[in-house]
Amino acid sequence: MRGKDLFFLVLLLAVLITGFVVAVDYPPRARFFPLIVISLCGIIVLGELLKAFLAYRKAGGTGIDRPATAEAPERDQKQQRNIDLLAWIGGFALLIWLLGFIIGMPLFMLAYVKLKGEGWRWAIALSATMFVIVYGGFNLLLNIPLYEGLLFLP
C-alpha cells in the first residue's frame, strides 16, 4: 500500500469518527441512516488499515511503498507541478470571489494562457471569447444575474 493511500484512510477515519460523534446527538430518526453508513464505512476503513498494518509487519517494516531516492528529481518536478496547479486553481477561485465572473474569468484566461508560454494573440483572443461568452451569452442573452465580486458588491 502506498503512503498516500494510508494517509487518505487515516484522514477518512478521522472524518468518520467526527461524523459519528456529531450524529450521536441527533434525534433518533435523523441519526438512523447516518450512523449505519458511518459504522459500515468505518469498519471497511479499519479493515483496510489493519490489512496495511499486517502487510507492513510481515514485510519487516517496509510494507509501505516509498519512492526510491533515484526518482527524487522526478518527484520534485511532480511536486512543483502540483503546487503550480494548486496555485492556479486557488488564484482562479480568489479572482472570481474578488472580481466576479465578468472580469475574473477573462483576466484568468489572459494570465493563464500568456504565462503558460502562448503568444499574446492567443491570450487576447481567448480572454475576449470568454468575455463574450460570460457577458454576452450568460448576462445579456440568458439574463443570468452573475456574481459581481466582493470588491464591487454594494
Binding site: K4, D5, F8, L12, G19, V22, A23, Y26, P27, R29, A30, F33, P34, V37, I38, L40, C41, I44, V45, G47, E48, R81, N82, L85, W88, I89, F92, A93, I96, W97, F101, M105, F108, M109, Y112, V113, K116, G117, E118, W122, L126, M130, I133, V134, F138, L142, I144, P145, L146, Y147
Partner: protein, 494 residues
C-alpha cells in the same frame, strides 16, 4: 399508450428540438473524441445549463450528447490508438492495427456503422420493453421503491475499479454526503457545522462537476501537452469508409449478437459499458473462424465492441427510467438530471411521463444514427480537436465548469462547494476510488431515506412484508452473493 408514443415522438421533430439535438450530438462527439472527457462529463457539464428548460428539451440534449460520445470515441481509438471513452478500449485492439495497415477508412466505416446500428437496436429494444414492464412497475409502492433503491445501492461494490473495498467506501461516502442538510421527514439539519449554505444540502450539480468534471480538467492542466502527438496524420478515404460499412452487413449475425450482449449487460445495474465491450470482443474472438487474426486487424474485432457499446444504452435506460435504478455512473448523473427537472424516474414515471420515455427512446435512436453519419463525414476534421494544447483548452473548461456550478441556483456558495468537493474528487481519481460509486450513493442516499421514512410511517417495521419487496430482497441477496459463492465453490472444487 399509442397516444403517448405519438406525442413523445412528435416532440422530437419540432425544428427547435431538431436543432438542439443536432448541436448536442456534435458536442457529444467532440467530448467523445477528447480522451478523458466522455458522455458522463458532457452531462455533468451541461446539466446546469438545462435547468429551467422544458424537460423534453433538457433530457433530449443530455441523452443526445451522452449517447453519441462513444461513437466519437471510436474515431480516436481507430485513428490514433487512444480510446476516446472507456468503452472504446476494446476497439483499438483491432481498429488501430487496421489503420497501421492502411485500412483506417475501412475500420472507421465498420466502427461507425456498427455504432449507429447498435444504438438503433438498443433503442428499439428499449421501446419494446417499456410497455412490457409497465404492469409490473404499476404495483410498486414506497416499500418496493425503497428496496429497489437498496438494490441499486448494492451494486456500489461492483462499480469499484481497483478493489471492492474502495468501491464500497466510495459509495458509502456518497451516501454520507447526501445526508448533509435538512433530513427528509425530520426537518433536522445534519452535518452543516453551522453553515447556512449547507442547510439545503449539497446540490447535485456542484457535486457532479466536482467529482467528474474538475478532476479531468485538472489532469488535462497537469499534463501540459496536446492529447495526441503533434504531427500525427489522420486519413480516411470515403471509398474505404463505405467498404467498412458493408463489412457490418457481411457480419450481420455477429453484429446482432454483440448488440444483444450490449443490451443485456446494460440492463444489469452496476456492470457498465466497459464490461459489455470486452464480453462482446471475447465472444467475437471465440466464435470467429479466424481467432488468430484478432489483435492484428480483424474487422470482426471492431464490429463486436462497437455494436455492444452503443446498444448497451438502451438496456441501461430501461432500468433507469422504469425502475429508477441507475445501471452505471452515467445513468446516475442522468437520474440526477431528471430530479433537477422535478421528475423522478421509477415506477410512477412510466405512468405519468410515458411520452417523455418515448421522446428519450426516439432521441437515443436518432442521435446514434446521426452521430455515426456526422462522424463518417467529418471525423478526420473533428479529430484535430485532440491537437489543441492543454494550456488553451483547460482554462476554458475551468471557466465553463465554474459557470455551470453557479448557474444552477445563481449562488456563489455552490461554486465554493464545488471547489471544496474537487479536493475529494481529485483524491479519489488519483487513489483509484470509484467516483461513479460515490455519485450513485449520493444520488440514491436521499431517496432511500425518504422512501424509508414514508414506508415506516405508513406500514411500520413490517413494511418489507409485501410480495414484491420480498422478491426484490431475494434478488438483491442472490445478485450480491452469487459471485463470491461461485468463487468459493470453485475454490472448494480445486
Amino acid at each position: 399508450m399509442l397516444d403517448s408514443i405519438a406525442q413523445g415522438l412528435a416532440v422530437i421533430f419540432q425544428p427547435g428540438m431538431m436543432l438542439a439535438i443536432f448541436l448536442a450530438t456534435l458536442g457529444g462527439i467532440i467530448f467523445g473524441i477528447i480522451p478523458g472527457l466522455n458522455g458522463m462529463t458532457f452531462m455533468a457539464i451541461f446539466i446546469p445549463f438545462t435547468f429551467g428548460m422544458d424537460p423534453y428539451l433538457a433530457m433530449s440534449i443530455l441523452t443526445a450528447g451522452y449517447a453519441v460520445a462513444v461513437t466519437g470515441g471510436s474515431v480516436t481509438a481507430v485513428l490514433v490508438n487512444v480510446p476516446g471513452t472507456g468503452p472504446n478500449s476494446a476497439t483499438l485492439l483491432d481498429g488501430f492495427p487496421m489503420t497501421q495497415q492502411g485500412q483506417a477508412g475501412r475500420a472507421l466505416g465498420a466502427a461507425l456503422t456498427a455504432s449507429g446500428l447498435g444504438g438503433l437496436e438498443g433503442g428499439v429494444i428499449l421501446a419494446l420493453l417499456v410497455p412490457a414492464v409497465m404492469p409490473i412497475v404499476m404495483a410498486f409502492g414506497s416499500p418496493e421503491c425503497f428496496f429497489l433503491i437498496v438494490m441499486g445501492l448494492s451494486f456500489i461494490a461492483a462499480l469499484g475499479q481497483e478493489s471492492k473495498a474502495k468501491g464500497m467506501v466510495s459509495g458509502l461516502l456518497g451516501l454520507l454526503l447526501s445526508f448533509v442538510g435538512y433530513g427528509p421527514g425530520t426537518g433536522f439539519a445534519r452535518f452543516t457545522f453551522g453553515s447556512t449554505e449547507l442547510l439545503d444540502g449539497v446540490k447535485l450539480i456542484p457535486c457532479s462537476l466536482a467529482i467528474f468534471g474538475m478532476p479531468e480538467m485538472i489532469a488535462l492542466m497537469r499534463s501540459g501537452r496536446t492529447i495526441v502527438k503533434e504531427g500525427t496524420e489522420f486519413r480516411a478515404p470515403a471509398a474505404d469508409i463505405w467498404e467498412g460499412a458493408k463489412d457490418v452487413f457481411r457480419h450481420w449475425w455477429l453484429h446482432m449478437r454483440a448488440s444483444a450482449i450490449g443490451v443485456f449487460v446494460g440492463i444489469v445495474p452496476g456492470v457498465g459499458g466497459d464490461v459489455a465491450v470486452w464480453i462482446a470482443y471475447g465472444h467475437a474472438k471465440t466464435t470467429s473462424k479466424h481467432p488468430e487474426t484478432f489483435g492484428h486487424g480483424n474487422v470482426e474485432g471492431v464490429i463486436a465492441p462497437e455494436s455492444a457499446n452503443n446498444s448497451k444504452e438502451g438496456g441501461a435506460m430501461l432500468t433507469t427510467l422504469a425502475l429508477g435504478i441507475p445501471g452505471s455512473g452515467a445513468m446516475a448523473v442522468l437520474l440526477g438530471a431528471f430530479l433537477i427537472q422535478g421528475i423522478q424516474p421509477g415506477p410512477a414515471f412510466l405512468q405519468e411521463h410515458l411520452d417523455l420515455a418515448f421522446t428519450i427512446t426516439g432521441v437515443l435512436i436518432l442521435t446514434n444514427l446521426l452521430g455515426a453519419a456526422i462522424c463518417m463525414l467529418i471525423a478526420p476534421t473533428l479529430i484535430k480537436v485532440t491537437r489543441i494544447r492543454s494550456q488553451l483548452l483547460a482554462p476554458f473548461l475551468l471557466c465553463i465548469i465554474t459557470l455551470g456550478a453557479y448557474c444552477y441556483r445563481n449562488s456563489i456558495s455552490d461554486v465554493f462547494v464545488m471547489f471544496g468537493l474537487t479536493v475529494l474528487g481529485w483524491a479519489m481519481r488519483q487513489l483509484g476510488y470509484s467516483r461513479p460509486a460515490f455519485f450513485l450513493g449520493f444520488v440514491l442516499g436521499g431517496l432511500a431515506e425518504r422512501y424509508f421514512n414514508i414506508s415506516m410511517s405508513s406500514h411500520g417495521w413490517k413494511f418489507f412484508m409485501t410480495p414484491i419487496s420480498l422478491v426484490i430482497i431475494a434478488t438483491t441477496i442472490i445478485s450480491v452473493s452469487y459471485q463470491p459463492m461461485m468463487v468459493f465453490l470453485r475454490k472448494g472444487k480445486d
